[in-house]
Every structure is written in structure tokens, then in C-alpha cells.
């Protein structure tokens, strides 16, 4: 949990400067969302949730100096959802194409659930958003970028991790 938290926080801070412009406004490119997803996939939903939650609190703390509880929980959900695989997929299957495809699908689902929660609570509690259209724009922009990031990076990270730890006897 602590390693995932620190890793997510550290890698997110420099990548907060990456952004692209679109018709919906400015979208932050946050490739590091794949980190809590990976921790969820490999170590279970609780580890994924805590890595996303506290990692996001710390990275926001150091780069924007603020606390946005609903986005922190949303990031926690980004890590928790791929944790479903922890119970369903054996470690020996991590390098198989089918598992990598499942990881990609789970990354997309996690982005929809996590960012959906954050955008909807922004709207429900009127945190900077006053209309459902604004919430939808925010959701589509953020969930879209996170889904693409996760879709590409989670299978890559999972494969690398599985290869790097191949042959290790315990605690994987």
C-alpha cells in the first residue's frame, strides 16, 4: 500500500504538467492512473483503493496544495475496480493474452466508475460544477483520458511485473 501510494504520488506530480487541448477544454494526461490499477490487480482491491486514495491526496497536496475528497475517492475506485482480477485470475496466467485483455477492459471500467463517481459528486454537491452538462463534459474528458491511459499502460505494466517476478516463490 505504502509503496503504491508513494509511487502514485511521486509519478503523478511531474506528469501533472502534461495536458492537451480539446473542444471540452484542457485535459490532463495522467498516465500514472495505471499505478493504482496495477496495485489493485496484483495485490487486491483494498491495496488498489488505498494506493489511489492516499496517492492522489499526496500528489494534489504537493502540486495544487488542496484536498478534493471526491476525486480522492474516485482515484481510490480506479485502483479498487481492477482488484476484481485478484480473486479471479491466477498469478501464473498474468502474461497470457486473455489476462492482458481483461486488464485493459478492467482499466476502462475502473475509469468509468472512478471518474463517474468524482464527476457526479462534483455535480451533486455543486463542487465547481453547476450543471449536468458540465459534469458530463468533465466525466467524458477525464474518464476518456484515464481509460486510454489504463488501456495502454495497465497491460504493459502487468506483463512487465509478471516477467520481473517470475520464479519468485512468495508474496506476489
Amino acid at each position: 500500500m505504502a509503496v503504491g501510494t508513494a509511487l502514485y504520488a511521486v509519478l503523478t506530480i511531474p506528469f501533472n504538467t502534461l495536458a492537451i487541448f480539446s473542444s471540452g477544454g484542457v485535459i490532463a494526461v495522467r498516465p500514472t492512473v495505471a499505478i493504482p490499477m496495477l496495485f489493485g490487480f496484483v495485490f487486491g482491491p483494498i491495496t488498489g483503493f488505498v494506493s489511489g486514495l492516499i496517492g492522489n491526496i499526496l500528489s494534489d497536496f504537493f502540486s495544487f496544495g488542496g484536498f478534493y475528497w471526491n476525486w480522492d475517492i474516485g482515484n481510490g475506485l480506479l485502483g479498487a475496480v481492477p482488484g476484481i482480477a485478484y480473486f479471479a485470475i491466477k498469478r501464473t496466467d498474468w502474461t497470457k493474452t486473455k489476462t492482458l485483455l481483461i486488464a485493459a477492459v478492467l482499466a476502462v471500467v475502473a475509469s468509468v466508475v472512478g471518474i463517474g463517481f468524482a464527476a457526479m459528486t462534483d455535480y451533486i454537491f455543486q463542487i465547481g460544477l453547476s450543471t449536468i452538462d458540465a459534469a458530463m463534459t468533465e466525466f467524458v474528458s477525464a474518464a476518456g483520458t484515464d481509460a486510454i491511459n489504463g488501456l495502454i499502460l495497465l497491460p504493459l505494466l502487468l506483463y512487465s511485473y509478471a516477467r520481473a517476478t517470475a520464479g519468485r516463490a512468495r508474496r506476489v
Partner: protein, 272 residues
């Protein structure tokens, strides 16, 4: 490169109990969220600068961090400047100039400038106070302080360990970046969204794999020390409130009362 770590010292901020500093950060978050009027935001902004200056953190060590954070905030401020009124938060803005660039409509308004400056001051104050906490608090004191705040010890240890690992992984990221740049890697990718994601792969994978492989060593070390065997845990180092902490807490609560009073007098945005 960024340096988010503890710098030993003897300043008053260094000597405060970590819980007092947590309260300071919470107070600043509350005040910054509550205050909308630019004239009020000047006070916490000035206070945060004075606090940081009083900590006497070696400037040489943190110069790079601040350069990076100011660049980040500068980007956000410019973006706020152009996009604030696209979302339509304030009706009938006073437009200074409007232009179209590529497929986007940009508007520079008086209200946009005021709000962007306000947002910048808010970001800066909170970041400075966050740095006051991190740069002056021994990482070994986070867990005992959080445990005294009744946080479950495993949770306290997660935060403690994360705070210890942040400087380690920051250095790891820097080393990896330098190694990749020596092989011709460029941080700024040419191209669109996909090119930017793929460009992060040579950094994210080595740093993440190094970190994840170190988990085994950490887990072994913790297991050898019997971590998790008992429901409760004592800490080698302890934190105790001193007179100065009580005085600081009293001052912080007075500030909070003053902030609530000022909020009732100046409840919304101020546009000159």
C-alpha cells in the same frame, strides 16, 4: 528536479508537534476554500510566505522544486484565465479581448483575471503550507502523530512509509530520466495524446518495477519485526504537546474565528 523531503533544522516550525502542523494545514485548506474575495486571500498568502521563510529551509535545495511548482501553477493560471467563463460561473463578464485559436474560443475578461490571480494565490498558499509541513517534519514522526490522532496503526504506517519513500522514488525517477535521456529519450513528445502516453512508458515502467520489486524487502523487514501480529502497537518515538503547541493552537483557532467573521463580511467574489 523536485525535492519533497525533510530538511533538519531548529526553527520554531521544526520544533512544533506534527499534530499542530497538521492543524495548520487543515486551517489553511478551510480558509482557502471559504475565501472567495481576492483581498482576503492576500492574508493567508502572506502568512504562508512568512511561515515558510521562518522555517529557514535551504533555498539551494528547494529552488528546483519551486521552479517546477511555479511553472505548473503558471500553466494552470493561464488556463484558468482563458477558460473560467466558458463554464459560465459568473454571468455577463467584462470582456477585454476575445479571439479564436485553432478550434477554440478564448476570452480574456476582467473577472477571469481576478479569479485566475485568486486561484494562483490559493494554490500557492496551500502548497507553501504543505511544504512547511513536509520540509520541517521528521518522517519518523508521522506515524506516532497519526496514531495519537487515533488513526489505526496500519493506516498510520502506510502514510509514514509513503512519506519516507517519496524522496527515494523522486531520486529514482530522476536517475531513470537521466539514463533514458542519455539514450536519446525526450521528455516532451511530439504528437498528440497517444504519443504523450507512449512517451511516458520508458519512465513509468522502470521506476514502477524497481519500486514493486522493493516491496518484498520491505514486507520481509516488517514481518521479521512482527508487524501486524498484535492489534495495537507502540512507537519507538513519541510526540508530546509542548507549551508552544498550545499557544499555536490557540492562535490558529483565533485565526479561524477571524476568518469566519471576515467570510460573513465579504462572502463572495470581489471584482474591481
Amino acid at each position: 528536479m523536485i525535492r519533497i523531503r525533510y530538511f533538519p533544522g531548529t526553527s520554531l516550525l521544526h520544533r512544533f508537534d506534527p499534530r499542530t502542523k497538521f492543524l495548520l494545514v487543515v486551517l489553511f485548506i478551510v480558509v482557502e476554500v471559504a475565501f472567495l474575495d481576492l483581498r482576503l486571500l492576500i492574508f493567508p498568502f502572506a502568512a504562508s510566505i512568512l511561515l515558510y521563510a521562518s522555517a529557514r529551509v535551504p533555498w539551494k535545495e528547494v529552488k528546483g522544486t519551486w521552479k517546477f511548482l511555479l511553472t505548473l501553477m503558471g500553466i494552470i493560471t493561464v488556463v484558468n484565465l482563458f477558460f473560467t467563463f466558458i463554464s459560465g460561473n459568473i454571468p455577463n463578464p467584462h470582456i477585454i479581448t476575445a479571439f479564436r485559436l485553432a478550434f477554440l474560443n478564448f476570452k480574456v475578461t476582467v473577472e477571469g483575471i481576478v479569479l485566475a490571480v485568486g486561484a494562483l494565490m490559493r494554490f500557492l498558499s496551500l502548497t507553501i503550507v504543505s511544504m512547511c509541513l513536509v520540509n520541517t517534519t521528521d518522517p519518523g514522526l508521522y506515524a506516532p502523530a497519526l496514531a495519537k490522532l487515533k488513526m489505526p496503526y496500519k493506516g498510520a504506517f502506510v502514510v509514514d512509509l509513503a512519506m519516507r519513500y517519496i524522496p527515494v522514488y523522486t531520486e529514482d525517477l530522476e536517475t531513470t530520466m537521466n539514463a533514458q535521456m542519455a539514450r536519446g529519450y525526450s521528455v516532451k513528445a511530439r504528437g498528440g495524446f497517444l504519443a504523450q502516453i507512449l512517451n511516458t512508458v520508458p519512465l513509468i515502467i522502470p521506476v514502477a518495477m524497481n519500486a514493486m520489486l522493493s516491496i518484498y524487502d520491505v514486507a520481509d523487514a516488517m514481518e521479521l519485526r512482527g508487524f501486524g501480529a498484535e492489534k495495537t502497537r507502540t512507537w519507538y518515538r513519541s510526540v508530546i504537546f509542548q507549551h508552544r503547541d498550545y499557544v499555536a493552537i490557540a492562535v490558529l483557532f483565533s485565526m479561524l474565528c477571524l476568518a469566519i467573521f471576515l467570510k460573513t463580511k465579504f462572502p463572495t467574489y470581489w471584482i474591481p
